[in-house]
Amino acid sequence: MRRALTGCVAASLGAVLLTGCAQGSGGGGESLTVYSGQHVQTTESLVTAFEKQTGISVNLRSDDEDVLADQIVTEGSHSPADVYYTENSPPLQYLASKGLLAGVDSSTLANTPSRFNSPDGKWVGVSARVSVMIYNTSLLKADQLPSSAMDLAEPQWKGKVAIAGSETDFQPIVTSIARTHGEAEALRWLEAVKANAGGHDYPDNETVTSQVNSGQVALGIINQYYWYRERAQVGESAMHSAIAYFAPRDVGYVVDVSGAGILKSSTHQATAQRFLAFLTSQQGQRILAHSDSFEYPIASGVTTAQPETRFDQLQPNDITVAELGTGAEAIRLLQEAQLL
């Protein structure tokens, strides 16, 4: 019995070590390692199509985009990552500010509107989302909704509003408010919204979406695609919520850009450039448009398959990716308001 057990243990140990070696010596084909903070729904079909078309195999590592950014900084010059693909622009700006990103080919940058790319060509925008309100349709009527994100600080919303204050998607709104109304006002807004949210400050947007949809709370701030995903997962009949936009150009009406950059330390620069070119190509953008990602493709001429407001008909605030920066100001304000 004991001998059998020892044998079993030795065999498992051997198997683990062997697979480790096998991994190291890998196949002969070209491969690319992508650190991805993007949702798998977005990356999966893109990666599969790229692999099929080029014969290059893509290793995808998924984690929170900011953990990955910290990880890349710690990995330094020996980072295994070739490409860093994120949900939001600030982590890319952060790596760019650390001098860790190589530039993107100008032909790739030309695929997408320049206002959604890195100001100095260090990364390229791939897709976009917009911040909206989600509200429970049996708890609120459309005409009861606020027109501005600033209204959510009013006492009438006490206990009725949900946020995901620690999520990266929340920061652009904070930056936007500080840009228009100043830091002091932004901090007052955060404190008031935090008080109004109370126990409805959730760890992520998925939770905000499902809690509003199930009637735990009346209203929430999310990016539009979470609502479409919730609908795809629970089905039309289980949807008890709808999305609504803030007034045109409102500080809360912000477009968030997802993008990708190439690590300076990568030893597969040319392959990585091909991958970025593919993401922003008409083919790549069409895949995005028809995937379960529900993000907006941003290359001209490609529209989403969803019957939602067309991207070119949105009327968001004019804040730029450069103004969103690394999000440092928003983070500091969130920390002061004790939301982080």
Partner: protein, 539 residues
């Protein structure tokens, strides 16, 4: 303090530390403590001004209060729950007690984030301090149950009989003798609970309860502020050190409870009598809350079904990977724990104890911090070699859960009479053969327990795994996370279920271990007379 105790101490003091054993133990400790070195290096980089601004703000005080108050309440509840359930299982005629011995251990193998996920599925509005207390207590009380059950099982019941015959009432006998015998085990278990609460992340994040550790993750996840996160981690380590110091003082006084297990008679189970149904109901309730709720929630979600916008993944591959990692980490950690355990029991002097205690600190360090410390080490010392490979993954797990292995092996070594080794040597057996022919068979069950504990924790580890796993290798925990964090609960649920099933295996081993403990020792033919009763009672 009894004469025997004094003699032993004197004896131990004169023996020089064996060179080989000591160097191996020191080497192992250096590797285990690498993450702490990383923390200090990072914190130094921040500089005092920023460190001051980060650490001395209102939030830090709130976080310390949140963390410490939770730690105190959870530890106290675990002490009560773990000790009483261990007593009922080991020392009473509770019906189905062998079944309970296994069922109450399994919750340890259910990831804390699955437990909170289960409660949240049933009560969507649950959150805050008391929710955190409930979830944590139900997830980690086995850490008290396991050592206390072991100690109750091997303690000599003769003491209780003596106490009764000397006129002590049942309750006072229970309190002074029975609990007294288990005191060191109770405190040991409580320390583990405390350290685990310090480093817990997933459960509190789901429940929206803010602790030092959730803030550390926030600094990483939102703040890009690795140095700040490391500075906060140092507070955790400091709290952990304080915990350990408090236990050190308790253990120092209670150390005399050594028993020649072979001569101890089997405890006569206490009759529960009319209280039996009540206790049975209580134990059943515990199992329902700790095991039934998470498992029920998981099964409900599977049955309920629903679509996911995520691509499907391979449950089989994830299971195989998790199993492989858990076995390997269990073996490595157990083997590494042996030298330190031997040294700290057989040569228990201050320096050795400090060495052993310091290893425990790693339990208070959040998984993400440990993972990034290895990212740092491989980058700066190995030019990126070994990074994100299976050997490093296994080493990381082994280090993270090393303290659990030390505790289990140490307990077994402490219970195996050193006299047997001395007899063997006096009969001409060579030193090295003594280890394989006498010591290892005596503590074999303790090694199995250490393996099982590390296995359980590894099988559910998430945050370090996400950073260090070889690219394209998924585990049950990472795949669960991928689905759960996207709101695909019914797709996440099977992964949680397999984690629970896998946990049941070591849970069963642990349960069996305690079941067989006395017979084993007796079977080994322990020829020593029981020490005089005076040496058994904690002074």
């Amino acid at each position: 303090m009894s004469a025997t105790g004094a003699v032993r101490r004197h004896h131990a003091g004169r023996r020089p530390l064996p060179l080989l054993l000591t160097s191996v133990a020191v080497l192992v400790s250096l590797v285990v403590l690498l993450p702490l070195v990383f923390l200090v290096v990072q914190a130094v980089q921040v500089g005092w001004a920023q460190l001051h601004a980060l650490l001395f703000r209102g939030l830090t005080a709130t976080l310390i209060w949140n963390t410490v108050s939770l730690l105190v309440v959870v530890t106290a509840l675990c002490a009560v729950l773990g000790t009483s359930s261990a007593w009922f299982v080991e020392r009473t005629d509770l019906p189905y007690r062998r079944l309970f011995a296994i069922l109450v251990v399994i919750p340890l193998g259910i990831p804390d984030f699955v437990v909170s996920f289960g409660w949240r599925a049933i009560f969507p509005g649950i959150g805050g301090f008391w929710a955190a207390v409930l979830v944590m207590t139900l997830a980690v009380y086995p850490l008290v149950f396991l050592p206390v059950a072991a100690s109750l099982r091997s303690a000599d019941p003769a003491q209780e009989e003596v106490a009764r015959s000397l006129g002590l009432g049942r309750l006072r006998t229970f309190w002074t003798v029975t609990v007294g015998q288990a005191r060191s085990a109770i405190f040991g278990g409580c320390i583990l609970v405390g350290l685990v609460v310090l480093a817990e992340f997933g459960a509190f994040e789901i429940l929206g309860y803010q602790t030092l550790t959730t803030e550390i993750y926030n600094e990483f996840q939102v703040g890009f502020n690795e140095p700040a996160a490391c500075a906060l981690s140092l507070i955790l380590v400091l709290l952990g050190a304080m915990l350990l110091a408090s236990e050190g003082s308790v253990r120092g006084r209670g150390r005399v409870s050594r028993v020649g297990a072979g001569a101890a008679s089997r405890a006569r189970p206490a009759r529960l009598g009319r209280g039996s149904p009540l206790v049975l109901a209580g134990m059943a309730l515990l199992v329902v809350l700790a095991l039934g709720v998470p498992v029920g929630a998981i099964v409900y979600l599977i049955v309920q079904g629903g679509n996911s916008t995520l691509p499907p993944a391979s449950l089989f591959a994830a299971t195989a990977n998790t199993f492989g990692y858990s076995v390997a980490a269990g073996v490595v950690a157990t083997m590494a724990a042996l030298p330190i355990a031997l040294l700290s029991v057989r040569f228990s002097r201050r320096r050795v104890m400090t060495l052993e205690r310091s290893n425990m600190l790693v339990l208070a360090v959040p998984g993400l911090v440990i993972a990034l410390s290895f990212t740092y080490v491989t980058e700066h010392l190995l030019q990126g070699d070994f990074y994100q490979t299976n050997p490093l993954m296994v080493l990381t797990y082994a280090i993270m859960f090393f303290p659990l292995a030390v505790v289990a092996v140490r307990a077994a070594v402490a219970r195996s009479p050193v006299g047997l080794e001395e007899v063997a040597m006096s009969l001409g057996v060579r030193r090295r053969s003594v280890l394989s022919r006498v010591t290892l068979p005596l503590i074999g069950s303790g090694l199995a327990a250490a393996f099982a504990l590390v296995f359980l924790e590894t099988a559910t580890e998430l945050t370090a795994t996400l950073v260090l796993h070889p690219t394209n290798v998924q585990t049950l925990a990472t795949q669960f996370w991928a689905f759960e964090s996207n709101g695909s609960y019914s797709q996440a649920a099977p992964y949680a279920l397999v984690m629970v099933l896998i946990a049941a295996v070591p849970g069963y081993i642990l349960g069996r271990w305690f079941d067989r403990q006395p017979e084993r020792a007796a079977g080994a033919g322990v020829p020593l007379a029981a020490p005089a009763p005076g040496t058994l009672v904690a002074a």
